[in-house]
C-alpha cells in the first residue's frame, strides 16, 4: 500500500473522530427557552429533579406533592422523578450532567453557587410563572430571602429552604460542668461569643469531650465560619464581590478569636479531630435548625440563637434554591410544576423540613405543627426572628475557584503559632485576581 493511501486513511480516521466529537458536543448544547404557560405536549412528559437529600421522609413528601400535581395535570405530566445526588459531590455531578447534555428539568442549587448559576443563563426566569399562577401569593415571599436568586427583574430560583443557623446545646454536659445555661444568658443579654467560648472550654475540660463545634466546617468548608465572623460584621469580600476584605480589622479580629479559641483555650476541636454533637461528642454546635431531626433524646438539649459578637447579634441563614434549567427538555412544564410544588399550601407541608420564605408561615405556631421536636418559643426565637435581616453565607459568581483558593490559603492559619494577619494578607493576595475576573 502506498504511503499516500495510508496517510489519506489516517486523515479520514482523524476527521471521523473529530467529527463525532463535534456531533456529540453539539448534542450537549441546549437552547435558551423562554418560560411561560406550558403548551400541552403531545403526550405527558416525565420530569426529573435533582436533590441532595436521601431522607426517605422528605422524598416521600416530595413524591406525594408530585403525585397530586400529576393527578391534577395528567395531560401535562406522567410523573416526577426525584434523583438524589450525594451532598459532597452535588454541584460536580450536576454540572457533569449538564456537560453531558443530560440536564435535569429542575434542580436544587446551593446558595454558594447561586450567583454563578443565576448569572450564567443556565436557569430560566421564574418570576412571570410564579406571579401569574393563581393563588400563589407571590407577595407573601420575604423579599430579603429572594435577593440572592435575583438578577435584574428576574428570579432564577425559589429559595425553598431558608434555614437559620443556631446553637444546639447539650444541657447535660454543661450543667455537669457547673456552667451557666446559655438560655439564661440569652434572657439576660449575656450570650456572647466570649461567653460561649468560656462555657465550651470549661465543659470540654470537665467532660473530656469537645466544646463548641462549627458543624461541617472541618477546616475545609471555611464559608461555614460566616456563622462566627458575622458577629464581628466581617465578610470575606465586599458586597459587590470585587474587593477582598479578609484583611479588614473585623475579619482579623474574628479569625484571631477563632484561632485562639481552638489553639489556646481548647474550646473547639482542632484540625483532624472529629466530634459529632448529635452523638454526644460535644457540648455545643453551630448548625442549621433543620438538623434538629438528628436528636435522638439520648441527652438533654436546647437550641438558642447565635451568640452576639463585638458588633452585636447577627442572624445567619443557609439557603437552598430550586431552579428550572433552560437546557432541560421541558422548562415550561417544569416551571409550572415548581409553582405548584412551592405554593402556599405545599410550602406549609414542606415547612416540616425546610423553613419557608413565606411571611404568612413564619410564626412559631405554624412551624411548631411541622416541627414537633421544637417548642413554639424555640422556633419563635431561632427561626422567626432568625430570618429577619439575616445574612447568607458567602457567595460569588466565581465561588468554586474562590472556595478552593481560600481553603488552601487558610490551611496556614490552622496551626498553633499561625500569624493571623500574615495568613489573611496572603489570602487576599491569592483571591484578588479571582475577584477581579
Amino acid at each position: 500500500m502506498s504511503a499516500h493511501r495510508t496517510r489519506g486513511r489516517r486523515t479520514a480516521g482523524t476527521a471521523a473522530v473529530l467529527g463525532t466529537a463535534l456531533a456529540l458536543t453539539a448534542c450537549a448544547s441546549g437552547a435558551d427557552a423562554p418560560v411561560g404557560e406550558p403548551d400541552t405536549p403531545d403526550e405527558p412528559v416525565e420530569l426529573r429533579m435533582t436533590v441532595w437529600t436521601a431522607d426517605e421522609a422528605q422524598l416521600g413528601l416530595f413524591r406525594s406533592i408530585a403525585d397530586a400535581y400529576v393527578a391534577e395535570n395528567p395531560e401535562l405530566v406522567s410523573g416526577v422523578t426525584f434523583e438524589t445526588i450525594p451532598f459532597d459531590d452535588y454541584t460536580t455531578a450536576l454540572t457533569t450532567q449538564l456537560a453531558g447534555g443530560n440536564a435535569p428539568d429542575l434542580a436544587w442549587v446551593f446558595e454558594s453557587n447561586a450567583p454563578e448559576f443565576v448569572s450564567s443563563g443556565a436557569l430560566v426566569d421564574l418570576r412571570p410563572v410564579l406571579e401569574d399562577t393563581e393563588g400563589y401569593a407571590f407577595d407573601d415571599l420575604v423579599p430579603s430571602a429572594l435577593t440572592l436568586w435575583e438578577e435584574g427583574d428576574g428570579l432564577y430560583a425559589y429559595p425553598f429552604s431558608t434555614s437559620p443557623f443556631a446553637v444546639f446545646v447539650n444541657t447535660d454536659q454543661i450543667s455537669a460542668a457547673g456552667q451557666p445555661d446559655p438560655a439564661d444568658l440569652v434572657a439576660d443579654g449575656g450570650w456572647t461569643f466570649d461567653a460561649a467560648r468560656d462555657i465550651a472550654a470549661a465543659t470540654a475540660k470537665d467532660s473530656g469531650k469537645q466544646g463548641l463545634v462549627v458543624r461541617d466546617f472541618d477546616y475545609q468548608t471555611w464559608e461555614n465560619l460566616a456563622t462566627v465572623w458575622s458577629g464581628w460584621q466581617a465578610a470575606p469580600w465586599s458586597a459587590d464581590g470585587t474587593q477582598c476584605t479578609f484583611t479588614e480589622p473585623a475579619m482579623v479580629d474574628a479569625l484571631t478569636w477563632f484561632h485562639d479559641a481552638v489553639f489556646d483555650d481548647g474550646a473547639m476541636p482542632g484540625p483532624g479531630t472529629t466530634a459529632d454533637f448529635f452523638a454526644g461528642d460535644a457540648a455545643m454546635t453551630i448548625t442549621q435548625i433543620s438538623r434538629a431531626s438528628a436528636l435522638d433524646g439520648s441527652f438533654g438539649w436546647d437550641v438558642v440563637p447565635l451568640p452576639a459578637g463585638p458588633a452585636g447579634p447577627q442572624n445567619v441563614v443557609g439557603q437552598a434554591g430550586v431552579g428550572v434549567f433552560a437546557a432541560g427538555e421541558h422548562p415550561d412544564v417544569a416551571a409550572d410544576f415548581l409553582a405548584y410544588f412551592t405554593n402556599a399550601e405545599n410550602a406549609e407541608r414542606l415547612a416540616a423540613y425546610f423553613p419557608p420564605p413565606r411571611q404568612s408561615l413564619l410564626d412559631g405556631e405554624t412551624l411548631g405543627d411541622a416541627n414537633p421536636l421544637l417548642s413554639a418559643e424555640q422556633l419563635e426565637a431561632v427561626v422567626v426572628d432568625g430570618v429577619q435581616d439575616a445574612v447568607t453565607k458567602p457567595a460569588h459568581r466565581n465561588f468554586a475557584q474562590l472556595s478552593e483558593t481560600v481553603r488552601a490559603e487558610l490551611d496556614a492559619l490552622w496551626v498553633p503559632d499561625a500569624d493571623v494577619e500574615a495568613v489573611l494578607a496572603d489570602t487576599c493576595a491569592a483571591v484578588t485576581p479571582l475577584l477581579e475576573d
Partner: protein
C-alpha cells in the same frame, strides 16, 4: 490462482472479523475519547452558560502562566518519586524475604497481598481515621511516649502519608511479580557463583538483579504510570491540601474540570498528563536496552 486468491480473501475476512471487536472497542473507548479531549482542549467550554468557543492554543498558553500548575507538577514529582522508590524497594525486599524457604511465608504473602484486593476507597477511609490527630497511629505512638504529628495537616507529613497509604495498598502486587521472577532465577547459577566464592550481596547484584531486570522494567512502568494517576486517595485523605501540597496533576485536572467547570483547560491538562506518561514510558522502553538482560 483464482481459488488461491479467494482463499486469501476469505482468510483476510476471517482475520478482520476476529480483530474487529478489539479494534472497534479501542476506537470507541480509547481513540475517540482521546481525540475528543484534544478537541475540547482547543475550546473554552462553559457548561453553565452553554457556550463552546474555539480558542486555539489559548488553553496551552495559559499553562505556562499558571502558578497552580507549577505547584501541581512539583507535588506530582515528589509524590511519584517517593512512591516509585519506596514501592519498588519495599516490594523487592519483601519478595527476597519471602523467597527464602522459611516457615510462615505463605501467611506473610497473603498478608501483604490482601490490600490489593480491598476496595481502594474503603482502604483509604480507614487510613484517614488512623491518620487523624487523635487517630490510631498517634495513639500507638503516644503509648510509646512519642507525640505524633497531625499527619494530614502538615504539608510534608501529608505527602508522606499519602505515599505510604498508596504503597501499602499496592506493594503486594509488585511483590508477587518480583517473587515470581525470583523463583525463575536458576539455582545452578547461584551454586556456581557460591563455588567461586561469591557472597550473598555479590550474587544478588550480579545474578539475581540482571535476571529479574525484565520484571523490574515492567514494575517500574506500571508503578510510574500508576503514580501519575492517583486520585481517590488524595480526594479522601487530603482534598489536595494542606495548601496545595498534595494537589497532584490528576487532582488539579479534576478540580479544573469538575469544581471550576473549566472543561477546556482541564482537557489541555489531560493532554499534558498523557504526554508526560507517554514520554516517561518511551524513555523507560528505550533505556531497557542498557539494563534489561534479554535486550542487551
Amino acid at each position: 490462482m483464482a481459488a488461491a486468491s479467494a482463499a486469501a480473501r476469505r482468510d483476510r475476512l476471517v482475520g478482520y472479523t476476529m480483530v474487529a471487536p478489539v479494534v472497534l472497542g479501542s476506537l470507541a473507548f480509547v481513540v475517540l475519547p482521546l481525540g475528543m479531549v484534544v478537541w475540547y482542549s482547543l475550546h473554552e467550554w462553559n457548561v453553565l452558560a452553554n457556550t463552546f468557543t474555539f480558542v486555539g492554543a489559548e488553553n496551552y498558553q495559559r499553562m505556562a502562566a499558571d502558578p497552580g500548575l507549577a505547584d501541581a507538577l512539583t507535588a506530582t514529582l515528589w509524590f511519584s518519586v517517593g512512591l516509585v522508590v519506596v514501592n519498588i524497594a519495599l516490594a523487592l525486599l519483601l519478595a527476597v524475604l519471602l523467597d527464602q524457604k522459611l516457615p510462615g511465608t505463605t501467611t506473610f504473602r497473603t498478608f501483604f497481598f490482601s490490600p490489593v484486593v480491598v476496595s481502594l476507597v474503603a482502604w483509604t477511609i480507614v487510613w484517614s481515621f488512623l491518620l487523624q490527630a487523635d487517630g490510631g497511629i498517634n495513639g500507638f505512638l503516644g503509648a510509646l511516649g512519642i507525640e505524633g504529628p497531625n499527619w494530614l495537616r502538615h504539608p510534608t507529613t501529608a505527602l508522606v502519608a499519602v505515599v505510604i497509604v498508596q504503597v501499602f495498598k499496592n506493594v503486594g502486587l509488585n511483590m508477587i511479580l518480583f517473587l515470581a521472577a525470583l523463583q525463575g532465577v536458576p539455582e545452578e547459577l547461584h551454586e556456581a557463583a557460591r563455588l567461586d566464592g561469591a557472597g550473598a550481596w555479590r550474587r544478588f547484584r550480579s545474578i539475581t538483579l540482571p535476571l529479574i531486570s525484565p520484571t523490574i522494567l515492567l514494575v517500574s512502568i506500571i508503578t510510574i504510570v500508576g503514580s501519575l494517576e492517583v486520585f481517590a486517595q488524595i480526594d479522601v485523605l487530603t482534598g489536595g491540601g494542606p495548601g496545595s501540597s498534595t494537589t497532584v496533576l490528576v487532582y488539579y485536572l479534576y478540580q479544573q474540570a469538575f469544581r471550576f467547570n473549566e472543561f477546556g483547560y482541564a482537557s489541555a491538562l489531560a493532554v499534558l498528563l498523557f504526554l508526560i506518561v507517554l514520554v516517561l514510558t518511551l524513555l523507560q522502553w528505550q533505556s531497557r536496552k542498557r539494563w534489561v538482560f534479554h535486550e542487551v
